[in-house]
């Protein structure tokens, strides 16, 4: 922590002549600020402020002192200087709109500091979440998919449109897509997203700022028909997409390499074709999650048949294109599955019992790896308590939505049914059925 480097001992008093420490004086819009080069260097090498600390020559004689001048608003600068000194925004920042502070931070090129102060994933505290914002969406469509980036920008697909909110959730932009509804959306960067739909062929890489299609990716299936996207996932450098042919008789997961030249297909895994009535032999994956700890890709899919829901969960090694583990779900099949990397475990919500089960990723060779975390006696009564439930892990927590409630093993959040759930930065983003807005839940932030 640099802030104390420039403090002169109290005995010597405030005198630049005597002190050995280097003090920089800056004139911002007519107001003088004094700080140390160490504080200014916190701004990072790209910032205007750290170049200031390097180019300023330190002269201790009072006559020759050169005060660098920055022609900006002094009050906003004082807030950003506090941010540099302490890493946090001072409480007087409340008098300003975050909007203004963000754009001033952009001028000085210190927005990463501001982001980490206000939207740091480490501030996410699952037991202390409260509904903080509602982001209204224009038009009549309800959100069909939500994607977030690590520092909290939010992309919401509603109807044929995608509305993107920046990390401060103060600015937005909307683009039109070719899809009638986007069913899977994955943010690759704050301005690029991969989108697909179950009723429109091809995976599209969209530029969310200008609104055009950067690239269209497709899967060459055996029937030579076009193919729709069932799920999208990503790992560092790779993009995964689960494709199903339009005739719904074959499916596969494509692995694309995200290089500088664009997206290059590198592997096709788990290709399956359905012959006759054996539907459960080729259920397309509807959820793809990367498990960095094991270098495996979790793919899950389910199918509602006459005897209830059937599903399978597979863990793929993408280098060898082999499934290292496969589980067929027949009794109390999952309604949704998720993997928590930090807990090395997989979680599911049973469609019949509505209970959350856990499977240890290190001990998967057992007959039934699921351990019920709730009341294990349920599930035999035939009610579908867990249908439409969603489960999602974030850090060391597992969130499970049931109807309008969201549980973290204690927390209940009322309202209409939760249809989408996503996490980014220190925020949780929820969409509910028939609502033309998304909810942002946040731990209380210091501002």
């Amino acid at each position: 922590m640099p802030p104390y480097a420039g403090l002169t001992p109290p005995s010597s008093g405030f005198s630049p002549k005597k002190s050995d420490a280097k003090i920089i004086t800056i004139n911002v819009g007519g107001q003088l600020f004094q700080t140390t080069p160490q504080t200014l260097e916190v701004a990072g090498p790209k910032s205007l402020l750290s170049t200031l600390s390097k180019t300023t020559t330190f002269t201790h004689s009072r006559e020759n002192i050169i005060i660098p001048f920055i022609d900006r608003d002094p009050e906003l600068f004082s807030i950003l200087l506090s941010l540099l000194r302490t890493g946090n925004l001072p409480s007087k920042a409340k008098q300003f709109d975050l909007e203004d502070i963000v754009s001033e931070a952009e001028f000085y090129n210190i927005q990463p500091l501001l982001i980490s102060s206000l939207s740091n994933p480490s501030q996410f505290d699952a037991f202390n979440l409260e509904k903080s914002l509602i982001l209204p969406l224009n038009g009549r469509d309800s959100p069909s998919a939500i994607a977030t980036t690590a520092f909290g920008s939010v992309h919401v697909a509603h109807g044929s449109k995608i509305t993107s909110f920046d990390w401060s959730l103060r600015r937005k932009s909307t683009i039109l897509t070719q899809f009638s509804a986007v069913d899977s959306l994955l943010a690759l960067s704050p301005s690029v997203a991969a989108a697909g739909a179950t009723d429109f062929s091809g995976l599209q890489i969209l530029d969310l700022e200008k609104g055009f299609i950067k690239e269209k990716l497709d899967w060459e299936n055996s029937t030579r028909s076009s193919s729709t996207v069932q799920a999208i996932g990503s790992a560092p450098g790779f993009l995964f997409a689960s494709f199903e042919s339009d005739r719904r008789n074959s499916n596969a997961i494509m692995v694309f390499d995200m290089g500088e030249i664009g997206f290059r297909p590198v592997a096709e895994i788990g290709r399956s074709e359905i012959y006759g009535a054996e539907l459960d032999s080729g259920i397309p994956a509807t959820k793809l999650e990367w498990i960095p700890e094991f270098n495996l890709l979790m793919a899950s899919g389910s199918h509602g048949g006459p005897f209830g829901l059937l599903g399978n969960i597979r863990l793929w090694d993408i280098r060898s294109s082999n499934a290292t583990w496969e589980l067929k779900e027949k009794v109390d099949c999952f309604s949704d599955v998720t993997v928590s990397n930090s807990l090395s475990a997989m979680f599911k919500v049973g469609v019949n019992s509505g209970e959350v089960f856990m499977a240890d990723l290190r001990k998967l060779d057992r007959e039934n790896p699921w351990v019920c975390l709730g009341d294990g006696r349920k599930g035999s009564n035939g009610k579908k308590e867990g249908s439409n439930s969603k489960i999602q892990s974030h850090g060391r927590q597992v969130f499970c939505s049931k109807g309008g409630d969201l549980e973290l093993w204690s927390e209940d959040i009322g309202g209409s049914r939760v249809t989408q759930m996503a996490f980014g930065g220190n925020k949780m983003v929820l969409a509910r059925k028939d609502q033309q807005s998304v909810e942002v839940w946040q731990s209380s932030v210091r501002i």
Binding site: L52, D71, R72, L133, I134, N138, K172, S180, A181, G211
Partner: protein, 472 residues
Amino acid sequence: MSDENSDSAPPQDRIKLNVGGKLFETTISTLQSGGPDSLLSLLSTRPDPSHNNPIFIDRDPDIFSVLLSLLRSNRLPSTALRRFSHLELLDEAAYYGIEHHLRSATSPPPFSALDASLSTTLRPPSHPFPSAFSAVSDDGSLIVAHGGQISAFDWTLSPAGTVRTHAEDISSLRRVWSETAAIGSSSSPGLHFYDVSGGRHVGSVHWSDPSDPRVYKARVGALTDSADSVFASFECPHRENCILSVDKSTLKITAEIGRQSGGSAKATTPEKLSHLPDHHLLFGCAISCGAFGFSGYVRLWDVRSGDVVWETNEPGSGRSSRFGDPFADVDVDPRESAIFKVCSKSGDLAVVDLRRLGEDPWVYLEEKNPSLRNPGGGGTSILLHCYRKQVFVSREGGLEVWSQMEEEEGTVEASPCERIYRRNFVDKEEDASRGVIRRMEGGGNRLFISREGVEGIEVWESSNFSGAISVD
């Protein structure tokens, strides 16, 4: 970059200002960004031997600090409009001569119907039910006719004058040049010009034909204008009608276009006129709804010769691919060279490329979204309006937009018929329940809507701000 690290000890381009007792320091280049004629850039060029003495300006320092931020960063601090009124900021910006800066910083972003919301409702004074209105396409200002009066709203949507006209009601209105409106009334004859801010009558034009005694007391149905002429459709009590071209500088009739008897649905007075400057064409249509459904015509005249270039009538012959599904409204998009129609029974939208007109040139736009299929006829009140590559369709109270897919970079401009359109609702259901939409028009970065029996005019704008609502 505005930082100054030069070695010369007293920097030459720095300037100190004392505004109302508060000291500000900035650079000359910042002050000069206000434009060469602004007070601030004049002050900055003033030869001042003792440049350490701040220049004193006897104005409010708080508003000045907002305007200085505007000059420095080209954006208005978002707290500014909470602390000061728009008018206050505008007056102060006018004092310093930097209104156009303020204007570009406070005007809404380019209108995108995909992300538009109701921003305000304008209520003209004394008689709040608008009978007609006309938007100005470049700056988003508006003139409204309400009960025989015309009120103007400037680009900030603040009131800019009202004039009482001789007419009891104004059925058509168009701003034909700055401050001057052309009006037509369904109750009194003639085309009249009023100066709205000056509050006076400028001139009148009547249709007369010495060779035909039936031409008298002709009333104005529709209005449009080109760079130098005003076009107005006139109708006599005997339904004889034509379009007159009136020169803007002399207010004299220069041409009579498309005179017809008015005896049948194919010869009624045009109720919508548009001028297409790129093609030298005048677009007109008349659609009426009777006991047997909609009927009418769409016609294109060559402005120079007065000849009909193309026309289509509906219900047409059985050869039409959509026989029995006549149009309910038609509009032309001059920039895109396309005519759009909305069908009365199916509710479908169709487009014609003006460069490829023919016998049955309509291309019907496909609705691929299953949740939006079967748009429904919308009863008798379907309206269509084209604005900035977007086609707005209102069905009763609901408002939808057909937007073009953004072209990939570097592709050739496609014909309007070959583009991909997507249909979306602009409004929410509670907006639609306010009333049947009677008129809509785009102007600047705004869309103006008036509803049947509802006071005022709705202003729809898009915004870059998320409008996040805090829950506390």
